[in-house]
């Protein structure tokens, strides 16, 4: 066993030295950026056949499909922009949406895009759920008004419906109209879209994709003629060897890349995060707001970020929305790390002083001792953040305030199942989507909604707040942007005061690329990956 440890340490040392040697290049002069490229290569891997129904429900699958299939609306760095729909109108407080369809748009097979195609695609997505559209069973009717306009009537008005309709991929009706098993429709015709790229090669086993620019694309010209996705096992090494043109860099090796002027490093918005949930039903002690606030005061999130992510994250806002979110409220309650404040809060709430075991008791003599469930992190991730490490640090912090934590780890799926079945006392959950529309807060906290089982919907089980409920329901039907922004700000204020859950941190990845190869990269307003934005591959308006 000792031999194994020594070997492991040797290998880690070797790897670090090799990476350090490779990245330690002398600074060079700034290289001109290239806004057009003949070919770029990116990290591949199989994410499914890129049709709206066959790709895997993961980011890299969905965003590859977007290169082939356009939608009514697109996302730039600030918000939604017109795309296949030249303009749109919200009618009758979100009951109807009128989309004016762009003319002179053709599919890859040369057939023109018509309002019939749009109506068909929306109705089809309403009948069969697309891998990455949430339109399923939410549309009442789709009517073609005239040669250019399509009127969509939804079952239940909601601010997110525009996003759901706008991001649904538009299919050619003549190809899909007779398909009754869309997940299994993967013939060559199935990848006929009206997007800026055509798929020219795909291999599931090897995880490769090749996209070529569509010459008759209606919109901004593709700035990259060919995009190839190839499998890589070590993205950083593959980038260094020039096998791929972009990689996400861990903070440890970042300085090496920063020294080399040929590289450009971009920090991504903090839209992936970890939060701490309470089970208020099985542990009634968590009903006490003072306890939840004391826990928050006792946690040093800056140190947590430094030690568990080596600085590649920011402490999360107590109002839940990420500080990089377009609707983030910077005035939410801030909890500075302060153990004394935590202790004072607990003692004023009636908890006993710390006893010989180092733990407090509540008014009924029950010790403040809880189990914290986390994932054992069995998944091999590019930048693994160990939840066990986070849980252990939380345990140490809370012990100082007299709260005993027992860390329990389980494999990811077991943890997920425990969360679904509310079989936990406290649990750590890490996931993306922190930049998405804040309507997810309604799904997470509104009491009239059954708890969902998707990432953003899992809530601290048993939490109830009437005022929060009212605000969440109000924002869901407020279509005026400014008014909604105010409501979302209020919701964040309330959440930061109430702390039904404790967001811990949001990660900020660093992406490295060579501007001399291609420098047209951009983010979407709600997403963290440069390579996932369709606009990254299109010429920009100057």
């Amino acid at each position: 066993m000792k031999t194994k440890h020594v070997l492991l340490l040797t290998v880690i040392f070797l790897m670090t030295s090799i990476i350090a040697c490779n990245t330690n290049q002398s600074p060079e002069k700034q290289v001109a950026s290239n806004r057009n490229a003949k070919i770029i290569r990116l990290e591949g891997g199989d994410w499914g056949y890129p049709t709206p129904y066959a790709h895997y429900p993961r980011g890299p699958g969905g965003y590859k499909t977007n290169l082939i299939f356009d939608s009514l609306l697109e996302s730039d760095e600030k918000g939604l922009i017109p795309w296949l729909a030249e303009k749109w109108k919200t009618i009758d407080n979100g009951k109807h949406y009128l989309f004016t369809i762009r003319q002179n748009v053709t599919f890859h097979d040369g057939s023109p895009l018509t309002p019939e195609d749009v109506a068909f695609s929306l109705e089809y997505a309403n009948q069969y759920p697309q891998s990455w559209s949430y339109l399923y069973q939410s549309i009442q009717s789709v009517r073609i008004q005239d040669k250019r306009n399509v009127l969509v009537t939804v079952k239940k008005p909601s601010v997110t419906m525009l996003l759901y309709i706008g991001r649904t991929r538009i299919l050619p009706r003549h190809i899909w109209k007779d398909i009754t098993h869309p997940q299994q429709f993967t013939s060559k015709a199935s990848i006929t879209g009206c997007g800026p790229y055509c798929l020219t090669a795909y291999n599931k086993s090897h995880g490769i994709y090749r996209f070529e620019a569509f010459k008759n694309y209606w919109g901004p010209k593709p700035a990259v003629q060919v995009i190839e996705f190839i499998p890589v096992s070590q993205p950083i090494l593959a980038y260094e060897r020039g096998e791929i043109d972009m990689a996400v860099v861990p903070p440890d090796v970042l300085p090496g890349f920063q020294k080399d002027a040929r590289n450009k490093i971009v920090k991504s918005p903090a839209f992936w995060g970890i939060r701490l949930l309470f089970n208020l039903k099985s542990v009634p002690q968590f009903q006490n707001k003072a306890l939840r606030q004391a826990i928050r005061y006792a946690l040093d999130l800056n140190a947590l970020v430094e030690k568990t992510t080596r600085g590649a994250a920011i402490p999360a806002s107590a109002g839940i929305l990420s500080p990089d979110h377009v609707l983030f409220n910077p005035h939410v309650k801030v909890y500075e790390y302060n153990v004394n404040k935590a202790i004072a809060l607990l003692e004023s709430a009636g908890y006993s002083p710390i006893d010989k075991d180092g733990t407090r008791n509540d008014q009924n003599g029950k010790p403040l001792s809880f189990q914290l469930l986390c994932s054992s992190g069995a998944r091999i991730s590019r930048s693994p953040i160990s939840e066990i490490r986070i849980a252990e640090m939380i345990k140490e912090y809370l012990q100082k305030a007299g709260i005993h934590i027992q860390v329990k780890s389980a494999d990811q799926r077991s943890r997920d199942a425990a969360v679904k079945n509310h079989q936990y006392e406290m649990v750590l959950l890490g996931h993306g989507g922190w930049g998405s529309d804040p309507h997810f807060l309604k799904k997470r906290f509104a009491n009239d909604i059954r708890q969902g089982n998707s990432l953003n919907e899992c809530r601290s089980f048993g939490y109830h707040n009437d005022r929060l409920n009212v605000l969440l329901n109000q924002q869901a039907i407020t279509f005026d942007h400014q008014k909604r922004k105010q409501l979302i700000a209020k919701i964040q204020m309330l959440l930061s005061e109430e702390l039904p859950e404790i967001p811990l941190f949001n990660t900020t990845n660093y992406t490295v690329f060579r501007p001399s190869t291609y420098d047209g990269w951009c983010f979407m307003y709600d997403h963290h990956s440069l390579a996932h934005s369709k606009l990254s591959f299109l010429e920009k308006q100057r």
Partner: protein, 324 residues
């Protein structure tokens, strides 16, 4: 006949375990409440999740699903993968050859290396060469295959740029004929080397022990006393008689090598069964898990059967005993 019934019974038990064990794992294929760092996952609503569960027949009682699975299996249908959205047999057909290539190459090479070194060690038993070989191979045996793979990857691929970092072929290069074959071997070199080295030590120890036992036999002493050529004694009398346990080991190691291949394939992003197995288990892709384990089971049982048969051929005493 009883042997065949034994095999059929084993196959049925394993089939049932393959079916029920994945379903006993907590969670289901469409439940995602957390995601990998840096990745986004589609946020399925309850209605979407239910529609998928019904579409793939997971809403039915487990015993009905089991009967359906066995019925379909008899018709040659391994099912449809939830995650990969393709028929399981098609996926296996594409992936299996890559793993077979790695495993068979590793078995052949590790057998040759192990037997040769084992013979040398046994021949020079107790001398310096034996001690050196014994020490080196025991040291290698302690290193897990994936760790060895990582070391090779960082030294030979990253530092010296001698081998590719990952994959099984150079994509979009358009190689044909010999160039294509050379490219495949170039990509497979490090995975095969990792698996070979780890397996060699086991084979070495077995060959060495087996040879030492044979060397101590009276007929070898007689052969030496007769003044026969050393090579003739080694190859004609010692290796031939020491081969029995080695042959068994070769076939039995086929199954255990799949385990090593899983990790090595992950290190090199090699598109074989190992990488697929990991993805299938993580995604709770029941039909694919069943398909992969069924294939592995069939391979291991076939290997065992071949080992039994070959053992009988090499040592007629075995088949006579079993007939008795």
């Amino acid at each position: 006949m009883s042997k065949i019934i034994e095999y059929i019974l084993t196959l049925w038990i394993i089939l049932s375990l393959n079916f029920f064990l994945p379903r006993l794992m907590p969670g289901d294929p469409f439940l995602f409440v957390a995601g990998d760092e840096g990745n986004t996952v589609a946020q399925h609503t309850e209605s979407i999740r239910e529609s998928y569960i019904n579409y793939y027949g997971l809403g039915k009682p487990v015993h009905i699903q089991y009967v359906h699975y066995i019925f379909e299996l008899f018709q040659g249908n391994l099912g449809h993968s939830f995650h990969f959205n393709e028929s399981v047999s098609a996926i296996l057909l594409k992936r299996f050859p890559w793993t077979v290539f790695l495993i068979v190459s590793a078995v052949v090479l590790s057998t040759i290396i192990g037997v040769v070194l084992g013979s040398i060690s046994a021949w020079f038993q107790g001398r310096f060469l034996d001690h050196v070989l014994y020490f080196c191979l025991i040291l290698i045996a302690e290193i897990p295959a994936f760790l060895l793979a990582l070391i090779f990857l960082f030294i030979f691929s990253a530092e010296f740029n001698l081998f590719p970092l990952s994959g099984a072929i150079t994509h979009f290069a358009g190689y044909k004929g010999w160039k294509w074959l050379a490219d495949i071997c170039h990509h497979a070199a490090l995975p095969i080397l990792s698996l070979t080295l780890v397996r060699s030590s086991g084979m070495y120890l077995l060959a060495r022990n087996s040879m030492i036992t044979v060397i101590a036999k009276d007929y070898i002493r007689t052969a030496i006393a007769k003044g026969l050529n050393h090579y003739r004694i080694l190859f004609r009398h010692i290796i031939k008689n020491a081969m029995l346990p080695i042959v068994t080991r070769i076939f039995l190691s086929l199954g255990s090598l799949v385990g090593g291949a899983i990790l090595v394939e992950n290190v090199f992003s090699y598109p074989g069964l190992g990488l697929l197995m990991r993805e299938a288990v993580l995604m709770h892709d029941y039909p694919l898990i069943q398909g992969i384990f069924l294939l592995v089971t069939v391979c291991v049982l076939t290997a065992n059967y071949l080992a039994d048969w070959l053992y009988g051929c090499l040592d007629p005493r075995v088949s006579i005993k079993s007939r008795k």
